[in-house]
């Protein structure tokens, strides 16, 4: 019963935060110096056309009425039209967002598979050379700008060693060869059973995903180490050791079992954080995802696209945070 209450409290805070999110995006769109009317009709349009479009967009109304109109449009998924691509922003997002999610998903898988064992290892060998090395590797992940690592990895693995196929999401010869079902290129290739496309997509995916994963890995390993140190100092671990259980059993079953839920929460949070890293990574790797869409729209002052993408990223981020919160409350029996 208590747990249900906690869940309800989390759920209740979502609409308020969501409302704030929309309000902030709306306000950012309204303070900007670019006239949305001129962006549509161009600066040579006759005055009566400008006035007509202004009326049509509702820009003559007071701010709160405009916000109401904006909310109404949002409710039916209308984010306006992108000046740059001349598609609706919603269509663009449906096309670009899966690419970002694909990148982030592979990155979080890499990061968890490497980061968690590293963190456990560092905690078990606390104070040794192994621990210090892992710590420095993680600190570097917190200190290196992601675009520098991305550029350097292009220099080394693409230009010098020729291991990676370089920027982009697929080779141009495979362009539009498989039907877009999910817009996750790897999944679409699998569905179409086109192995060449799949191989090409995976090859293109690995490098940006690995760059992105490094930063997530640094955070996950650091948190795992901290949690694990905490757990290993627990009295139940001393008891388990005193009973003569093997080291592996004590570490993985007793100590790790107790931090697993907290780690899942951390992974959900990191997943959300990857959306941010994706913006920069996508720019360097010309990855046609939401991040690149956002930066290109920014440079072209395409405000509908910027606000739409910001809102979608914000909502996804919020969803992951809530998910982390819910998972923690659902899975951990210690939370009352």
């Amino acid at each position: 019963m208590k747990r249900l209450k906690a869940l309800a409290a989390t759920a209740a805070s979502v609409p308020i935060t969501l409302f704030g999110l929309v309000l902030v995006t709306f306000l950012i769109g309204r303070v900007m110096p670019i006239d949305p009317v001129l962006a549509i009709v161009g600066d040579r349009a006759p005055a009566d056309v400008v006035a007509a479009v202004r009326l049509e967009l509702g820009l003559d109304e007071p701010l709160y009425v405009q916000f109401w109109i904006y909310l109404g449009k949002l409710a039916i998924g209308d984010l306006g039209r992108s000046v740059m691509t001349s598609h609706t922003v919603w269509e663009d997002i449906k096309r670009f967002f899966p690419a970002t999610m694909e990148l982030a998903t592979v990155a979080i898988l890499f990061a968890s598979c490497i980061g968690v064992p590293l963190g456990v290892l560092a905690a078990v060998r606390q104070g040794t050379k192994v621990d210090h090395t892992i710590r420095v590797v993680c600190l570097a992940g917190h200190s290196l700008p992601i675009f520098v690592l991305a550029l350097l990895s292009l220099l080394v693995f693409y230009a010098t060693l020729h291991w990676a196929p370089g920027p982009g999401r697929q080779d141009i010869m495979f362009d539009e060869q498989v039907p877009a079902v999910t817009n996750f290129l790897t999944v679409d290739a699998l569905l179409a059973r086109d192995w060449d496309v799949l191989r090409d997509a995976v090859a293109h995916l690995i490098q940006p995903a690995a760059v992105l994963a490094y930063f997530a890995m640094a955070f996950i390993a650091r948190m795992t180490r901290a949690f694990m140190l905490d757990a290993l100092a627990g009295e139940y671990v001393i008891t388990a050791r005193a009973k003569g259980l093997s080291a592996a059993r004590v570490i993985w079953k007793h100590a790790f079992g107790n931090i697993a839920v907290r780690l899942i929460t951390i992974m959900a949070l990191t997943y959300a954080g990857l959306l941010e890293g994706a913006v920069v990574t996508e720019t360097v790797f010309s990855w046609p995802g939401l991040g690149q869409y956002l930066t290109v729209s920014l440079l072209n002052a395409d405000m509908n696209a910027v606000l739409g993408a910001t809102l979608v990223v914000g909502v996804t981020y919020l969803a992951f945070n809530m998910l982390a919160d819910l998972l923690y409350k659902l899975l951990d029996p210690r939370v009352s």
């Binding site: 902030v24 600190l139 917190h142 675009f147 220099l155 230009a159 913006v279 910001t310």
Partner: protein
């Protein structure tokens, strides 16, 4: 902690045993029976410093930061070339005795630009911290001390700002005003304050119902006085740690904004913007974009190391 803790005793026994040598400023600092408040306070600070000094990595970070700050301060006096001076006959030169880090695509000396860029980065960091720490502290202390409606409203607002990924909100905000250093600073402030507010609120909540605050209140102190004179000073320790650990993320955000063309604008020698203009040379003249990258990395690593060290000393429970 005992008074004779890790103060690096030498081989000479007279150094180890205070009774064998003349009383010095160190004995005064480490005295177990301080005669005045200031002696006790300085003694406590000295012990913290001794703890901190034992952490080699953190000391390394501190040294790098001190070097960088002094380099940034004296940069205009020591740079070998004018960072804006172009020399088109000597474009993209390799590092040499004349140009220590080589030259960029307009023949400008990279070493001079890196030094001057340090001023830009440092200036942005200082501006952000000066704005963000008081803002977060004020919001957090007010929410925590007054509670009720104020608390709920302020924390909701905090949640909304936490709900955006930092860089993306900053990007949208800068795009809405005008790309440049000033907007970048405000955008980073706008995205950086919520964690400070949460921290200050948590500290305030734990202090609010303590006996000494009740005692101050009984003497008739106003709420403002209690918050400003008694609660804020006690929040400062964890705030300083948080700020130092946050520095590297501020530096990275500023550099990312510059890299994406939304922060400092060329020809400003900001490191992120320098990488953005030089990234097309990564395959052939790799040092041109790499050197500013190393600069960002070193400074932000130094702040991380320093922050870790400070946290261990000032805030051992967060370790």
């Amino acid at each position: 902690m005992s008074a004779t803790s890790p103060t690096g005793a030498g081989a000479d026994p007279s150094l180890r045993d205070p009774s064998l040598r003349d009383p010095s400023w160190r004995d005064w600092l480490l005295s177990d029976t301080p005669a005045s408040r200031s002696q006790a306070a300085w003694g406590a600070r000295y012990r913290l410093w001794c703890d901190f000094r034992a952490n080699t990595l953190a000391m390394g970070g501190l040294i790098v930061i001190v070097l960088m700050v002094s380099a940034a301060l004296i940069a205009p006096l020591v740079v070998p070339y004018d960072p804006a001076m172009q020399d088109l006959t000597n474009r993209l030169a390799r590092p040499s005795a004349l140009h220590w880090f080589g030259t960029d695509e307009l023949g400008r000396d990279l070493f001079s630009r890196i030094l001057m860029g340090g001023r830009v980065t440092l200036g942005m960091v200082v501006a952000v911290v000066v704005l963000v720490a008081p803002l977060g502290l004020a919001v957090g202390c007010i929410a925590g001390y007054y509670g009720g409606v104020a608390d709920r409203v302020l924390m909701r607002v905090t949640d909304v700002f936490l709900a955006f990924p930092r860089l993306i909100l900053a990007l949208a905000f800068v795009a809405a005003i005008k790309p440049g250093i000033t907007s970048a600073i405000f955008a980073i402030v706008l995205t950086a304050w919520p964690p400070y507010a949460r921290l200050a609120r948590a500290e305030t909540l734990s202090l609010r119902n303590t006996d000494f605050i009740a005692a101050v209140r009984l003497t008739g102190a106003s709420s403002a006085r209690i918050v400003l004179r008694h609660i804020v000073p006690l929040c400062l320790g964890s705030l300083v740690v948080r700020v130092t650990l946050d520095m590297s993320s501020i530096i990275l955000t500023a550099a990312s904004l510059g890299f994406l063309g939304m922060g400092a604008q060329p020809p400003s020698p900001e490191w992120g913007a320098m990488i953005a203009t030089a990234r097309r040379f990564i395959l052939d003249q790799w040092w041109v974009p790499t050197i500013p990258g190393i600069a960002i990395f070193l400074v932000s690593l130094a702040f991380n190391l320093l922050g870790d060290g400070l946290r261990d000393v000032l805030d051992p429970k967060q370790r």
